[in-house]
Symmetry: C2
Subunit: 315 residues, 2 copies
């Protein structure tokens, strides 16, 4: 296809734009830049100033180094990009998609690296942009402007299984980012959602690292109740979950993540601790809404959603 | 009866000891002292020092004044008391009862002014002390050692309907403390428990004042789910709830309390904010345990219990 010509040149890098340069965008965009891709990151003023002054500092499990990336506060910086990593908070989907649309090159491939299962829909509805969905597995935080601290995993699942997806996966893999292609990306996003629902609010409300959650028998029992509700909603909504027909497998998956990221707080906990809006509407809140639509009771997910909302609004 | 002779003398005051001089003990003991009763309060060192230096400062909805009470850190200060207000945290029931027992005058009337429904049992089991149960309705806090801030209500329900109970009620009423006698004190304690279960953990986990809870449609829905579970456990346990056969009445009661105490945080929230142990084991935790015993699922109460426990253990 003519529009993504640069990516067809083996060995050359596409021009990459990261929209929403938080922990996820900073980590994956930073690794692409470190591997040689020209990367521009669009973020807040403090971020852009820090990065333009001293580069992006990556403090990963494998290395610590400053990486050269371009940084901007302007959506127009997406001009010329061939691969766009869409990494804003899900709460900002519509506004960001609309700001971006006028500057987005026609052939650019947009990949949503976000929590939740309905980002592609939201981005399409807001600005008629077609994005590829990705399930992101990384534990990372932003300890200060222009800094990314990586504490666990760092891999992607993208889909659907198309020519475009294969190209994107190749680019990530060239930067040593494990990237699996799935023919059931909806199921993959729901799998990630299960684990987000099981862990994120608990870490935020209990101010607990994943280790503490994994070690508590009561927390495991609570996760069990959360997962049961999410699986019931998924079943009623006709979602096929890859390898998670058995609730025990779903819970085991969440426990494995909690162990892999033992030292981390969830992104929801990080948002609360910085007095920022969380993505709870896309997580336990989504399950509560979707459950109501398909007639499945979700009292525990609704409780977690409600408590995080109260915490967001605290004075 | 010979043993409570002082109380039979109309117009004279019994010697009162308050064990556990927090917000509840400080408020009710302080009002008794202000009315003329000789009161000794047994509490922490900082409390005793402040009170012996400057008296107990009562900042109530009706007045602000310093009240003269005796203060001590020693359980032996209960010697000579005719009325003992047992106001420690429920987590300290057994230890306090055992410390107190050697010094408790044989005829002294002990009243449990505590949250939860099984304090009398716990106190009896630990030290063979027979206490009268009271359901306490007051919103108060301890802004500093020797200070009590009262922000809502301030009334008691005691039982069972006995000669001893009537005497105790008369003493409270002489100090202008509304005190109702109930022939179904178990039901009254459970009624209070319903409201504690509906409100305390929400205020702690959401860092929310009761006003914010009352104003949130989602929080009301969550309270509904909590109350439904508590009512189901009460039914299965054979508890007769006075006037709360209808779940709507129970929820309306909690909403009324939230409105009456709009500006308050729950005691659970106050404990969390001071890094103290909470009474959650006696509240949502009690419902989860009792539910398991009687075969009633309590996923929402268990979730709240678990989250408060995580928060207690935070590092």
């Amino acid at each position: 296809m003519k529009e993504d010509f640069a990516m067809t040149l083996s060995g050359s890098w596409p021009r990459v734009a990261v929209v929403g340069a938080g922990a996820v965008g900073g980590y994956f965009g930073g690794l692409l830049a470190d591997a040689g891709a020209p990367v521009v990151m669009i973020g807040r003023r403090a971020f852009a100033e820090a990065v333009n002054h001293a580069g992006l500092f990556l403090d990963t499990l494998q290395f610590q180094k400053s990486v050269r990336v371009e940084a901007s506060t302007e959506p127009s910086a997406v001009r010329g990009a061939e691969l766009v990593l869409f990494c804003v908070k899900t709460t900002d989907n519509a506004a960001t998609a609309r700001e971006l649309a006028p500057f987005l090159p026609p052939g650019a491939i947009v990949v949503s690296l976000q929590n939740g299962v309905d980002n592609v829909e939201q981005i399409r509805a807001a600005a008629n942009i077609e994005a590829l969905p990705a399930a992101v597995y990384v534990a990372a935080s932003v300890p200060g402007p222009g800094r990314v601290k990586h504490v666990g995993r760092g891999d992607l699942v993208i889909g659907p299984d198309s020519e475009k997806t294969v190209k994107v996966a190749e680019i990530f893999r060239r930067a040593n980012i494990p990237c699996r292609i799935s023919g059931n990306i909806e199921g993959e996003l729901w799998t990630k959602l299960i684990w987000n629902c099981a862990l994120n609010a608990l870490s935020a409300l209990g101010q607990a690292r994943y280790r503490q959650i994994a070690e508590s028998a009561d927390a495991r029992k609570l996760m069990d109740a959360i997962v049961d509700e999410v699986l019931a909603v998924a079943r009623a909504a006709g979602i096929v979950l890859p390898g998670l027909e058995d609730p025990k497998a779903a819970l085991a998956g969440a426990m494995k993540i909690a162990t892999q990221m033992a030292g981390a707080f969830s992104s929801t906990a990080q948002d609360i601790n910085r007095s920022r809006r969380t993505e709870i509407d896309s997580l336990n809140g989504y399950i509560a809404r979707r459950g109501a639509e398909v007639g499945v009771p979700t009292p525990v997910n609704h409780a977690l959603f409600t408590l995080v909302k109260l915490l967001e609004e605290r004075r």
